[in-house]
């Protein structure tokens, strides 16, 4: 009986040690284990075995090429079997009861064409006003930055085009005309490595380069309305922490963009969705 109890105690203790190694124990329970490890060689041995096992698994977790686009095409084909909105609209038009609706739409389009023609003749070209801001010739193109990252090349082409000045975090606010992001609010696991001020077309933005574990994340902060582009990279929209975000994923490169209260952000890095959500949550 004593042996069984001792075995249960030992098993419980080893689980606690595992929680300790993973940082999952509350702070007040960490200190006694620290002290115990200083004196107990057996537990230190167990701890080093856990860490060695971890390292072995971590190094062994290499992934092959992921055929993302092919997978998406197959998913799209399968999910397309359900009628889309356009197909439903087509069904309305082709139904006998849709005859009147069809003629009404055709008549409406002809009327619109006539009105437009008349207005053009009068010289009123602005019947449809393009409210979008014109594309600035020298808008920051993050497509260049992404290209460098995908090639595993230093972002030299990017910085050649957009001069960057490395500054201290305390000096960064003086360089820009919008409130600096509270980058220090990110969890301690994100380490701030470098702050740069980028210049483009007379306007400045900030680049924070952080690291988390072995991963690098770049967070760009712009003034609201500052022109920038993602080049030819495809984007999709989705809410993250109730913030409307643009997502870019080019094979292994992932980027998320969102609008905060005073500025816009673009975060680029190989982070997990939960980690991106943390960044969006803190810098919204």
């Amino acid at each position: 009986m004593k042996k069984i109890i001792a075995l249960l105690h030992r098993r419980r203790w080893q689980q606690t040690l595992l929680l300790y190694v993973d940082g999952e124990l509350p702070q007040n329970e960490m200190a006694p284990i620290d002290r115990h490890l200083e004196t107990c060689a057996l537990c230190r041995q167990t701890q080093s075995e856990i860490l060695a096992c971890r390292a072995l698994l971590k190094n062994g977790g290499k992934l092959p090429f992921i055929p993302a686009e092919q997978m998406w095409q197959r998913i799209a084909r399968k999910t397309m079997a359900a009628p889309s909105r356009w197909q439903k609209l087509g069904e309305i038009f082709s139904a006998p009861s849709g005859q009147t609706l069809r003629w009404a739409v055709v008549a409406g389009m002809i009327l619109l064409g006539v009105i437009w023609g008349v207005k053009l003749k009068e010289g009123a070209h602005n019947i449809f006003i393009d409210t979008r801001a014109p594309v600035a010739a020298a808008a920051i193109d993050y497509g260049i930055f992404f290209d460098d990252l995908r090639r595993n090349a230093p972002a030299s082409a990017f910085y050649k085009r957009y001069p960057a000045q490395i500054v201290k975090l305390t000096e960064a606010q003086q360089k820009i005309a919008f409130p600096l992001a509270a980058i220090e609010t990110l969890p301690d696991s994100f380490r701030l490595d470098c702050v740069r001020v980028l210049e483009c077309n007379g306007q400045k933005c900030i680049q924070f380069t952080c690291s988390k574990a072995d991963k690098v994340i770049n967070i760009f902060q712009h003034a609201l309305g500052q022109a920038w582009t993602l080049g030819s990279y495809a984007v999709a929209r989705a809410p993250i922490c109730n913030v409307e975000c643009l997502l870019v994923n080019a094979s292994e490169l992932t980027a998320v963009s969102w609008q905060g209260k005073y500025s816009e952000y673009l975060a680029v890095g190989d982070l997990a969705p939960q980690e991106f959500a943390q960044v969006v949550q803190m810098l919204r």
């Binding site: 698994l57 055929p67 500052q226 963009s257 816009e264």
Partner: protein
């Protein structure tokens, strides 16, 4: 939003595409390490997203979506493993095509490196599925204990207990295959 060149893929649903872009890599990684097969991992990820398409309306924002996706992936992977167990036995083990440079001692030969990677794969494959699942979620995906508990629908204590037993078994299997204590700690 000053984005001037956006090529949004509309089909089949923009939201599904966005979620796919966010999660496919992580889910593929989990499926791949659980099934040990590229082909099965692709099938699993596709199956999960086809199911998500049908269930998309029930998710508001991010709440619960991540856990749901991981849970579906683990379940579908374990199903695939059961279904294709016989076939999988004859496939080349791929899940731990090991980063040999990082894994093997510097001076070991390529043949020795391949041997070690095969042994590591064999040891993992010998673990029971619940143990394999916790190791994959913890060590290959970096999930916290709470997240693993939510995905596998078990409590946090059980996660710790399974992980502890999984490491112990993995260590035994590795030792039985000739990867000894000294190597583990090198």
């Amino acid at each position: 939003m000053p984005l001037h060149s956006t090529q949004t893929t509309a089909a089949p649903e923009p939201d599904l595409r966005a979620i796919f872009l966010m999660y496919h890599r992580r889910l593929y990684k989990v499926a791949y390490h659980l099934t040990s097969s590229q082909h099965d991992a692709e099938d699993v990820v596709q199956e999960v997203f086809v199911r998500l398409h049908a269930a998309l309306a029930q998710f508001r924002g991010e709440a619960g979506l991540s856990t749901w996706l991981y849970r579906m992936t683990v379940n579908a992977s374990l199903d695939a493993l059961r279904r294709f167990k016989r076939r999988q036995k004859w496939e080349t083990p791929l899940a731990l095509v090991v980063n040999e440079a990082a894994l093997a001692p510097e001076n070991s030969s390529p043949a020795a490196q391949i041997e070690i990677s095969e042994k590591l794969q064999a040891a993992l494959a010998r673990l029971r599925q619940p143990f394999r699942a916790v190791i994959v979620l913890r060590d290959f995906d970096g999930m916290a204990y709470d997240e693993i508990a939510a995905v596998l629908q078990i409590d946090k204590g059980t996660v710790a207990s399974r992980l502890h037993r999984a490491y112990a078994k993995l260590k035994k299997e590795l030792e039985a295959l000739g990867i000894d204590q000294n190597y583990l700690q090198s």
